[in-house]
């Protein structure tokens, strides 16, 4: 399957009377975007009010609590549309041509579950810990209708964010991209014939799926309800997987992460050179022990059936998913397939504790995204988009986290994407 991505570089965002992209500037009429968002019945029923704000790199701005980050895109050629099974019809994506508004994102913010949404600082020390401080962010702040249950509201805000991204992405349809890249994987037989001497490698992509508010969706299906299966890497690049969860901010895979998965990008960069990138295996992270066993049995079985030489396995979340990670690793290694794990660590504020909740001698190749317990002091910002009401409560914060002068003392797990477990960040011991 072959996908062409056309990147349209966005260099500025401004509110305006009309919506358009011109010479790298995105002009937004907030009311038009809002009208489009509120055409959805669930949004209408659950969201009392929504307003847009703009946050630019280097500004003294703090966005919190952040729910999701989404890159606006539009399908210009080939089957399907953006976010299939959720916004567009459920047609298979991952082929044809998609335009990407690069350098910007839609950020959804506002309270859902008080303690599990994150912080994006656009400048200062906190900005170094999140990749989203480097983007031009169009922030959608939502407020719930009184009495709406959190899971209903989460759904509504998720849809609102995706609709905003779809609307903005559409503005890039008729533009000529600044840069174009092609991504292609081969069929099983074709790949072996074309790249006979290269090791066959796949990516085992673990999706957070522990329950309401801890979900990921694949073509609109709650990943909790899938058995481990195969997917073309270009499908995940083309919006097939979206985030619907409220896990700790630092290692939550936002929709932006799924669209721009660095494991996929790096495997493509080596495809045909040092390895043959066969496919992605998606699997879930469940609470029920029998489900864990079934899913990890299945993922490792697929790796064996495909005669792979190696897999990269990434997880999402902490604690119980560590068990899935180790089960996937152990069973896949036992099939004779080498594994490399990507995770992050909760090693205590001093970094001295065991990093994962589970371990095995076969897990002997591990890449870490950093220690989420590391403490950071975030200085006050001139402007807050959203509210600071929850800073004392979010995971990694504590009572007294928010100091009287507006600065925050907390663990880096409060920062969106800080220790991302697909490696979408740059924490390093070097």
């Amino acid at each position: 399957m072959k996908l062409e991505l056309g990147f349209i570089q966005i260099r500025d965002i401004q509110f305006s009377k009309e919506c358009k992209v011109e010479s790298g500037t995105l002009y937004v009429n907030a009311d038009e975007v809002k009208d489009f968002i509120f055409q959805d019945d669930d949004v209408k029923a659950c969201v009392k009010a929504a307003h847009f704000d703009i946050a630019k790199p280097g500004e003294s701005v703090r966005i919190t609590p952040v729910k999701d980050v989404i890159e606006p895109r539009v399908k210009v050629e080939g089957p399907g549309g953006e976010f299939p099974g959720v916004i567009a019809k459920v047609d298979t994506v991952g082929s044809g041509k998609t335009h990407v508004l690069r350098g910007m994102a839609i950020v959804t913010a506002g309270k859902i579950v008080g303690f599990q949404e994150g912080i994006i600082d656009m400048s200062g020390p906190g900005a170094d810990y999140t990749p989203f401080s480097k983007l031009l962010n169009l922030v959608l702040v939502c407020e719930p209708v009184e009495g709406v249950h959190q899971h209903e509201y989460e759904h509504a805000v998720r849809i609102a964010g995706l609709r905003a991204a779809t609307f903005v992405g559409e503005l890039g349809r008729s533009l000529t991209p600044d840069e174009t890249q092609e991504f292609e994987t081969y069929g099983i037989k074709e790949g072996i014939e074309k790249l006979p001497d290269l090791p066959r490698v796949a990516y085992v992509h673990m999706l957070q799926s522990q329950g309401l508010l801890h979900d990921t969706y694949v073509y609109g299906v709650d990943a909790k309800k899938i058995i481990s299966t195969l997917i073309n890497p270009t499908e995940t690049m083309d919006g097939a997987i979206i985030s619907g969860n409220c896990v700790s901010a630092c290692d939550k895979n936002t929709t932006y992460h799924h669209q721009n998965n660095p494991v996929v990008a790096d495997l493509f960069a080596q495809h045909g050179k040092t390895l043959n990138y066969v496919c992605n295996i998606i699997t879930n992270e469940n609470v029920y022990l029998a489900d864990k066993q079934r899913s990890s049995d299945w993922a490792s079985k697929l790796a064996g059936m495909l005669d792979l030489d190696g897999v990269i396995i990434s997880e999402e979340g902490f604690g119980n998913p560590d068990t899935d990670l180790i089960m996937n690793c152990k069973k896949t290694e036992q099939k004779g397939v080498k594994t490399v794990l990507v995770t992050d660590e909760y090693a205590g504020q001093d970094g001295k504790s065991q990093s994962l909740a589970d371990a095995d001698p076969l897990a002997d190749a591990v890449v870490t995204g950093g220690n989420a317990n590391e403490v950071i002091i975030l200085p006050p910002m001139d402007k807050v988009i959203g509210t600071l009401d929850y800073v004392d409560k979010i995971a990694g914060g504590h009572a007294g986290s928010l100091r009287p002068d507006g600065s925050i003392e907390a663990e880096i797990q409060v920062i969106t994407g800080a220790t991302n477990e697909i490696g979408f960040n740059c924490l390093s011991a070097r």
Binding site: L212, H214, V287, A290, N320, K393
Partner: protein, 132 residues
């Protein structure tokens, strides 16, 4: 059988499942209860570290075990004992949680448990609201 210290689980699930509600137990004490049952041969059905909420953040925990003892499983004993070790690794945070935050933590624990059991969490919440 659900071992829990989460009042929302009791409200929404009692009657549908066998719920043992321990109002005064801490999260760790619920895990110890589950561990002792697993040591006595009860089957552990749910992972005790469910959710990405750290053990020192949420006060609530629900664990599902079989009502009757079966065969002792060393793997399960390892999972539950390991979870208590993880729990001890996180130093307790001294903070007063507001009612709203406590309710959020109850909700997360309840929805995770519902997901594991295939229970309609939304319907359970509506029933609970009606009961009120």
């Amino acid at each position: 059988m659900i071992l829990t210290n989460n009042p929302l689980v009791k409200t929404c699930m009692e009657g549908r499942y066998a719920v043992q509600f321990f109002e005064d137990l801490t999260l760790r004490e619920v895990l110890v209860k589950a561990r002792d049952m697993v040591y006595n041969g009860h089957t552990l059905y749910t992972h005790p570290l469910a959710g990405s909420v750290k053990p020192n953040e949420t006060p609530y925990k629900s664990v599902v075990v079989s009502q009757k003892p079966n065969e002792f499983s060393p793997e399960q004993a390892q999972i539950i004992a390991g979870s208590i070790e993880v729990c001890d690794k996180f130093s307790p945070q001294s903070r007063t949680l507001t009612r709203k935050v406590l309710e959020d933590f109850q909700l997360i624990d309840y929805t995770l448990l519902s997901g594991a059991l295939g229970y309609d969490a939304a319907a359970g919440l509506s029933n609970a609201t009606n009961k009120k």
